[in-house]
């Protein structure tokens, strides 16, 4: 096992106050350690020197919970393809490297502290339609709706999204389209999601806009940054679904009004 001597430039920020980069030397880091274990070692040393350790979100450290969120050398989750920050290992770096470490930056992800941001906007988008309205206990027998393997597999591809927000952080417009398209796409692909297809599409897209995420201008940086390799094809599908839903919404609203006038 080799030891690496690294120079870190770490973003430090307290809530809404302005932040800055702090230079931190990180000598003798085992190359078998994960990136977050490197951060643990650095934090232990900061604490020993009476300094404030670096705050960052993390939990599972297995690439599945979506908590970890560092922009490493300008890339959300760092340089390795399809890998979250927590799954990145130090053997990908060389001794003497300077590593820039920043939070996931986006207008809709305000910094809480240092590398920790508030991604509550994602939860609110999900609340605006990311579900099938089925009450507990009222479900039909599981095998009563056959679903082709290809359909189930496609839905699973979209469902693999871990809600980390790297797509947003990588996008020059800070657009959340990849996340939203994956979430809408999963349910809109499955038969269970059909009854609420329009409502879901409109609700989630409108909430996304209300949260201040930017527009998608087809840069596709998001796909490259996504640790779960969510495909931009979902964005195409969302655009289609949205166009249909928006038209039906206008027509439907008219019809509802007309019906309302003559109703009982």
């Amino acid at each position: 096992m080799a030891l690496l001597n690294l120079h870190l430039k770490v973003w430090r920020q307290n809530g809404s106050q302005p932040g800055h980069f702090q230079d931190i030397e990180a000598p003798e880091i085992p190359d078998h350690a994960s990136f977050l274990e490197m951060m643990d070692i650095v934090n232990e040393r900061l604490i020993a020197n009476g300094q404030d350790p670096i705050a960052f979100d993390h939990d599972c450290r297995e690439g599945i919970c979506g908590a970890c969120s560092m922009t490493i050398n300008g890339m959300p989750h760092g340089p390795e393809r399809a890998t979250t920050t927590c799954q990145l290992h130090m053997r990908k770096f060389r001794t003497g490297d300077t590593i820039w470490i920043e939070p996931f930056r986006a207008r809709s992800f305000p910094v809480v502290k240092d590398l920790m941001v508030d991604r509550g906007a994602f939860d609110r988008i999900m609340q605006a339609g990311g579900f099938v309205s089925i009450r507990t206990g009222s479900a039909p027998e599981g095998n009563s709706i056959p679903i082709g393997k290809d359909v189930a597999d496609a839905a699973m591809d979209a469902a693999a999204c871990i809600g980390c927000g790297a797509c947003v952080a990588s996008c020059k417009n800070a657009s959340a389209m990849l996340f939203v398209s994956a979430k809408v796409g999963q349910l809109n692909t499955l038969p269970q999601g059909q009854p609420e297809r329009q409502r879901r599409t409109l609700g989630m897209v409108r909430q996304m806009d209300a949260e201040g995420f930017g527009n998608c201008t087809n840069q596709y940086e998001c796909e490259a940054a996504c640790p779960k390799e969510i495909s931009v094809r979902w964005i195409t599908k969302l655009n289609r679904d949205y166009a249909v839903a928006a038209v039906k919404d206008i027509v439907g609203a008219g019809r509802q009004q007309a019906g309302g006038e003559g109703g009982d």
Binding site: S34, E37, I47, D59, C60, C65, A67, I134, A155, G163
Partner: protein, 645 residues
């Protein structure tokens, strides 16, 4: 130490009647609250994992006012998200002879006859509804070409009853439950508090009435009151420091409840999972599980001769390999249950035949499956696990066998609950991994997800009313003196942690405690070893309170402070864990006492003296807990030596 039985407070409330009818009868006999009155009752749900999200969503749908709490930044990140392999259900879609009774039987036997039969039967019954519910939510379970749901087999069962979504079953089930939760948040039925940690339980006149929480962004400590509290806070595996659990998993919620009077049951039943990536260095922060489903297609072996251990595995001929699970347990082979497989790995390594750094590893070899089914099929089944393995170790499991070693994974013990999932402390309900009830001394693979969702979707919505009808809604308010005192106590404790200003970091204490507990109360335990731990833990605890350093302040985000509070509780809990392990003079499931084994090394249970649930009561002194016993009786399943040979 051992006190007389308190049978009155340990009424398990098991319904009468034949096993297969108990749940139906109980549902019929349970109290109902009419829709108008339901709106007056408020419920606090701590935890947003499978158990918590499912409970919060279902209770809100029924009309209760719900508040749900988690310490992560989003409910969707609860530790359930990490479960890989699958969820069991007695659907018998494979037509291989599965049934509710068989799932019930396998679970009782798998738990080494230390679970409560009636609870397990109910679990097996509702398992089928869980799958229906999840499918309806849009959980993308694996399918066959004909469009039906696919299954795989898992350890400890001879039928194929495990449903899965690639290697991300927990994630998909949790996202399903989270979607139901979101639907209720949007409707106004649930108020969600993320980045909020429960620090204490509020008990007023013997009834559980609320919780004290700390806002992890602002640092503010305050109280929430309700008519009942549901703890769905997961397991305590991180007492060992290194485990497959997420970093934030903790014992705080259940331990604080224990200190307020809730009995802690069977803490010594801890599960060591056989297929994890071995430890590689002392900087290591956690261990990574390789799903047990890998054992469907992988063969476990070590070299027959110790001198071969350093060789490239490809250069070791078949004849020199010891496929020890297949050799020892011919009828279950590589699918032998977890406790048995873990111990067998330890034995092989103790015998000097372990592979990899430190000789603490065994091979899990896919060469034969890749030959038989092709690399693509194996990649489709386990691709993400193989990728994960490669990222961590830098080795490809397609080319070279994986190295695996057992690691702490799950905790069967937890707060004692009755059939209604209520603790002995009235008004406190405990769901999911946080309770003790369904897995006995060992949990079978794919059964934790099943239990979390069973408790949340189907059990608590029926049973909670039995307690609520005894309470006047909204009786306790925030200005109650007990509530104020609980808040003041939590503030005081936080101040104390910050004011020690010693020399050692929180993590250094956690690592030391974890190593000690792993060493003395891990895969194999002895009376003397446990005594050593019991002697050393109080000293370590004292050092913690005199020498820990927690930088920063209490009135802002402070992750060291969060960890400090959790480690302080682990320091107390660890002692109870060891005391329970020492009290239980037998080997059963995940609890292996070296003094109690058959000549061939198999675990030796002592049904005569230990067929009981050990429910520990806090006495005011962590070193002197009181033991209460719930005797276990077996009507349906005959007590037998658990054999997988």
């Amino acid at each position: 130490m051992v006190q007389p039985l308190l049978t009155m407070s340990l009424d398990s409330k098991i319904p009468s009647g034949p096993m297969a009818e108990k749940w139906t009868r109980h549902k019929r006999d349970s109290k109902l609250i009419n829709p108008k009155n339901k709106r007056k009752y408020s419920v606090i749900v701590v935890g947003s994992g499978l158990a918590g999200s499912a409970a919060a969503a279902s209770l809100s749908e029924m009309g209760y006012k719900v508040k749900c709490f988690c310490f992560q930044d989003s409910a969707r990140r609860a530790h359930s998200i990490a479960a890989q392999g699958g969820i069991n259900a007695a659907k018998n879609y494979q037509n291989d002879g599965d049934s509710v009774h068989r799932l019930f039987y396998d679970t009782v036997k798998g738990g080494d006859f230390r679970a409560r039969e009636a609870n397990v039967h109910r679990l097996a019954e509702v398992s089928v509804n869980i799958i229906d519910q999840c499918v309806a939510q849009g959980v993308p379970f694996a399918r066959e070409y004909g469009g039906g749901l696919a299954n795989r087999s898992f350890g400890g069962a001879q039928v194929s009853r495990t449903f899965y979504a690639r290697g991300q079953t927990g994630q998909q089930l949790l996202l399903g439950a989270y979607s139901a939760l979101n639907k209720e948040i949007a409707r106004g039925g649930v108020e969600m508090y993320s980045r909020t940690e429960m620090l204490d339980l509020i008990v007023v006149n013997g009834q559980t009435k609320g919780i004290v929480v700390r806002n992890l962004v602002t640092g503010k400590i305050d109280a929430h009151v309700a008519d009942t509290v549901l703890l769905c806070t997961g397991g305590y595996g991180n007492v060992f420091f290194l485990s497959t659990n997420a970093m934030g998993c903790n014992v705080t919620a259940t331990w604080r409840a224990h200190r307020k009077g809730a009995f802690f049951a069977n803490p010594c039943y801890t599960q060591i999972h056989p297929t994890c990536i071995p430890v590689s260095g002392d900087y290591q922060s956690k261990l990574t599980l390789m799903s047990e489903s890998l054992r469907n297609d992988g063969r476990v072996w070590v070299p027959k001769k110790a001198e071969d251990c350093g060789k490239n595995p490809a250069d070791i001929p078949e004849a020199d390999r010891d496929y020890y699970l297949e050799r020892k347990y011919p009828s279950f082979g590589n699918l032998a249950p977890r406790d048995i497989s873990s111990r067998a790995a330890k034995e092989a390594c103790d015998d000097g035949r372990g592979v990899g750094p430190g000789g603490r590893g065994v091979y899990l070899d896919f060469a034969e499956s890749i030959r038989d089914f092709g690399r693509n099929t194996i990649a489709e089944r386990y691709g993400n696990l193989f990728d994960m393995y490669e990222r961590i170790t830098g080795e490809s499991a397609y080319e070279r066998p994986m190295r695996i070693y057992p690691a702490v994974h799950y905790t069967m013990g937890g707060l004692w609950v009755d059939y209604n999932l209520m603790s002995n402390l009235p008004g406190l309900h405990v769901l999911g991994e946080a309770n003790f009830s369904d897995h006995g001394a060992n949990r079978l693979g794919a059964s934790a997800l099943m239990q979390g969702l069973a408790d949340g979707y189907f059990v608590i919505p029926t049973t909670v009313a039995n307690y609520l009808v005894t309470q006047k809604p909204g009786e306790v308010t925030l200005d109650n003196p007990e509530v104020k005192k609980a808040v003041a106590d939590a503030e005081e404790r936080t101040k104390k942690l910050l004011s020690v200003k010693g020399k050692r970091s929180v993590d250094s204490f956690h690592r030391e405690l974890g190593l000690l507990v792993w060493d003395k109360c891990g895969m194999a335990r002895t009376r003397e070893g446990l005594q050593e731990a019991i002697d050393r833990i109080p000293a370590l605890r004292e050092e913690f309170w005199n020498n820990v350093t927690v930088p920063g302040s209490g009135d802002a985000a402070n992750q060291e402070l969060e960890k400090a509070g959790r480690v302080a509780d682990f320091m107390e809990f660890a002692e109870l864990l060891c005391i329970d392990a020492q009290n239980r003079e037998e080997s059963c499931g995940g609890h292996f006492r070296e003094e109690h084994q058959y000549p061939d090394g198999e675990a030796k249970r002592n049904d005569q003296d230990f067929s009981y649930v050990a429910a520990w009561e806090y006495s005011g002194n962590c070193s002197q807990p009181k033991l209460n016993k719930e005797p276990l009786t077996f009507e349906e399943v005959h007590l037998a030596v658990r054999s997988y040979k």
